[in-house]
Amino acid sequence: MSLKVSLLLDGQLAPGEVKATLEGTAADGLLRDRYTLYGLVGDALRGNSTPDDGFSARIFERMQREGARIEPGYDPFKTRG
């Protein structure tokens, strides 16, 4: 399964495999760690080795707190709103 996590990160899975792999990864702490670590390996090789240290989790928390949702017509390039 870790191989599939590596392929998920790289967008190398067949379209039909992505959802199941994503769900399997999200449901398994060890696989979630693998997804994070594989990403860190690549970034570190490119000179950016800052660990996640909850950074992503705080993004999700803020999204939840602010009730972020997909809004048809919303322009992400607008200064405000």
């Binding site: 870790s2 191989l3 590596s6 392929l7 998920l8 990160l9 790289d10 967008g11 190398q12 899975l13 379209p15 992505v18 959802k19 994503l22 769900e23 990864t25 999200a26 979630r32 760690d33 693998r34 997804y35 994070t36 670590l37 594989y38 990403g39 860190l40 390996v41 690549g42 970034d43 570190a44 090789l45 490119r46 000179g47 950016n48 080795s49 800052t50 660990p51 996640d52 240290d53 909850g54 950074f55 992503s56 989790a57 705080r58 993004i59 999700f60 803020r62 999204m63 602010e66 972020a68 949702r69 997909i70 809004e71 017509g73 919303y74 322009d75 992400p76 390039f77 200064t79 405000r80």
Partner: protein, 197 residues
């Protein structure tokens, strides 16, 4: 979708309302976006705030992403826009003289410092050291495939052609290389396990 976009399927799922797909994109790109934002915003707390706002804007505007460019390019442009808006707000605050204008003006200098987060800086250095040491111990053919993909930016099919190996072998070499390095990173990052995605 752009032909070379590696995120096509994750984006499609996220647009269809799959929150996990968007979370996977956040985990994948947060570090790169943070580094980009840090070119504009000096204070690491402000960098985090701008990165959060970038992903929130991207999520809210996901329906408008048509795949004319790669998802990361779109996200990068949102981050640029958000960072510039942040600087503009700071500039307005300074002009209004709300507080400590000299210190606020310092924030316009490009670059970011981890002076206010020494723990993060220390772990980042440890990670860099471990990755470099592990790379030196990897079987050369695994290291070569990983470097071609991660550093040279080659696609799997290109690597297969360059090394004259089947694409399935490229998949397993990159995976085995990552796994070898990841195992050596685990002890460094164990204390952060509960704080990760």
């Amino acid at each position: 979708m752009a032909e070379t976009d590696r995120d096509t399927e994750l984006v499609r799922l996220a647009q269809a309302g799959d929150a996990k797909a968007f979370q996977a994109l956040v985990v994948k790109y947060q570090r790169r976006i943070a580094r980009h934002v840090a070119r504009y915003v000096r204070n690491s707390g402000d960098v985090e705030d701008v990165v959060q706002e970038t992903f929130i804007r991207a999520y809210r505007g996901l329906a408008s992403f048509r795949g004319d460019s790669a998802f990361y390019s779109w996200l990068y442009r949102i981050a640029t826009n958000t960072a510039l808006s942040h600087l503009k707000r700071q500039s307005n605050d300074v002009l209004l003289g709300d507080d400590a204008p000299d210190e606020r003006a310092e924030a316009f200098e490009p670059g970011v410092s981890d002076r206010d987060n020494p723990e993060r800086a220390l772990i980042a250095k440890q990670v860099a050291d471990v990755v470099q040491r592990a790379l030196g111990k990897l079987q050369p053919e695994l290291a070569e495939a990983l470097m071609l993909y991660e550093v040279e930016g080659k696609q799997y099919a290109e690597i297969a052609g360059m090394l004259d190996i089947p694409i399935g072998t490229v998949r397993t070499r990159i995976f085995r290389a990552r796994e070898f390095i990841a195992k050596r990173l685990e002890p460094v990052l164990d204390s952060q396990r509960n704080r990760r995605w």
